[in-house]
Symmetry: C2
Subunit: 323 residues, 2 copies
């Protein structure tokens, strides 16, 4: 029911998934009348269930409102279905903070994990990388960063079939003894952990330019890095548009360059990378970007399918050191 476009985007994406994956069944959780009104005729109706939920968590609802006053929300009901084993995964385009809090409250964390984290895929000049945490945890210890590294490593090795993904710790380079105290402690822990392919520090300007598979940082820093990246990309797009609108010559070239600029946009912000995973929970929960289109939301569902098939929570639990 949520995200910027609601069922208008989510329903066509769901039908595409049913078409592509003949063994997948989907439960659409939301207001039944509204969903039925928007649902096109489909040959896949037998693999589609509508599960009614009276309420919706709004984008500006606080975590406490979502937790306490929205027990009949589509978000809460969908996560309950995962908890009850009636769904293998939950995908939502809704309020991130609420999704994390409700997921954590209902599903609980995996034994050995103090805090769940959010991991996303980011395009690079070479291919792509993963960054976590992206905002779930704002005051992290070195042990939390180690847990993030372990969870992210398992996710990459399980879902991308990369047996030994490289891991780097986000840091800064302008100080003699690099980094703040938590990052320095975390680096020592990551070095000691033999199951990790830890390569050392990475700086912000290398995130989009290295072949590292996983960038680990606390949620505050990760959120700032990700949001700043979005802001810069939007800023450059704005200036590009402005410069191509300056005078008749520029406009003409802009028109001719349109297919090239569209390819640029798709490569900078690829639909395939939509779908951030909430890891560390006893269940699969994937967060789609609120503004995702049909193709992007389709990829968020696909991410959830892959993680559910691998039983990612169980794989993470196996990898953790015995407490």
């Amino acid at each position: 029911m949520s995200g910027d476009h609601g069922p208008r985007i989510i329903l066509p994406a769901a039908l595409e998934i049913l078409k592509k994956y003949p063994d997948i069944r989907l439960i659409l959780v939301g207001h039944e009348d509204k969903l039925r009104a928007e649902l096109p005729d489909t040959p896949f109706a037998d693999r589609l269930v509508i599960h009614h939920a009276e309420q919706v968590v709004e984008m500006d609802d606080s975590v406490s409102v979502a937790l306490r006053s929205k027990k009949q929300s589509s978000m809460r009901v969908a996560i309950n279905l995962v908890k009850e084993g009636k769904a293998a995964a939950c995908v939502s385009a809704g309020n991130t903070g609420a999704l994390m809090a409700v997921s954590r409250f209902v599903l609980k964390t995996i034994r050995g994990i103090d805090r769940p984290a959010i991991i996303a895929t980011v395009p690079t000049a070479i291919s792509h990388t993963h960054v976590l945490d992206l905002g779930a945890n704002v005051d992290c210890t070195a042990e939390h960063l180690l847990q993030f590294a372990l969870m992210g490593s398992v996710l990459i090795s399980e879902t991308e079939n990369k047996p030994n993904p490289t891991v780097a710790l986000l840091n800064i380079g302008s100080e003699d003894i690099k980094g703040n105290s938590v990052v320095k402690q975390a680096s020592a822990l990551l070095e000691q952990e033999s199951s990790l392919n830890y390569t050392g520090y990475i700086e912000g300007n290398q995130i989009n330019h290295s072949d590292i598979d996983l960038v680990v940082c606390d949620g505050f820093v990760g959120n700032v890095a990700l949001k700043t990246s979005e802001g810069v990309a939007k800023f450059i797009a704005k200036v590009l548009k402005k410069q191509f609108n300056r005078g008749i010559y520029s406009r003409l070239i802009g028109l001719l360059a349109l297919p090239i600029l569209k390819r640029l946009s798709r490569e900078i912000n690829p639909d395939e990378y939509n779908g951030a995973s909430l890891v560390g929970l006893r269940g699969v929960v994937v967060k789609s970007h609120g503004g995702a289109g049909v193709k992007a939301f389709y990829h968020a569902i696909e991410t959830a399918i892959t993680e559910a098939r691998q039983d990612l929570p169980a794989r993470i639990e196996e990898k953790l050191p015995n407490p």
Copy 2:
């Protein structure tokens, strides 16, 4: 002597300054023979002094090497000249960590300032903003962030003639109770400080899109934000280049679009904003980007001139609450 291009860039920039500012005298600190060899004939020779320094702080020298083993470096000698009152300001394109450490050791901090900070100008879709700290301080308290806010405010009001610059605290928005504990405490301190025009929190994606004059954050977060921005801009430039090189049609359009893309590059990375200021010291020190060209280095010198004319360290000291 330092930066990516050394005297080859710095000397022409210096001559341009002498031409533009008839009341300014410049001291070129560095290896005399090398400087003389590169110095073109100039009608401004009477306002130019070469001050010999035997050593150079290299880009990969550690802070301790710069402090202990490079007492005859151009960097150290230039800062000594500021300390002795023989120069009103120092401009360097050298190693940032070393420049900060040597400046702090030689010049000391202003009474009431625990730690100096680095502040830079960043272009926005509206005009520009300033961000500090950018990496000098990696473990900050709320009081440090307050000091950064005060220093940045004075810098903007004094050098841009803006009497009451707006100040925001960099934070993240995905949590119910936003931000980490230090940022929350800092927000309370900034609100109480009547001399600040504090407007509240700002998220990473708004840095390039708001009309806020000053964004305050700890040096770790600021460094990651700035470096990540650089990385993203470079990534987009790379993809743009690649897309304009795909096939004959794209190449042709790329050729025609060249002046537009050059305007884009100048607007994204303007020479005018080169020159980050080390604030909180008892003296004016400006850091140029290592890769700066002549025009960009010229602007770094101009920044130093403006700050020296306003006697920025004295203005900052006046603004601080009495200890």
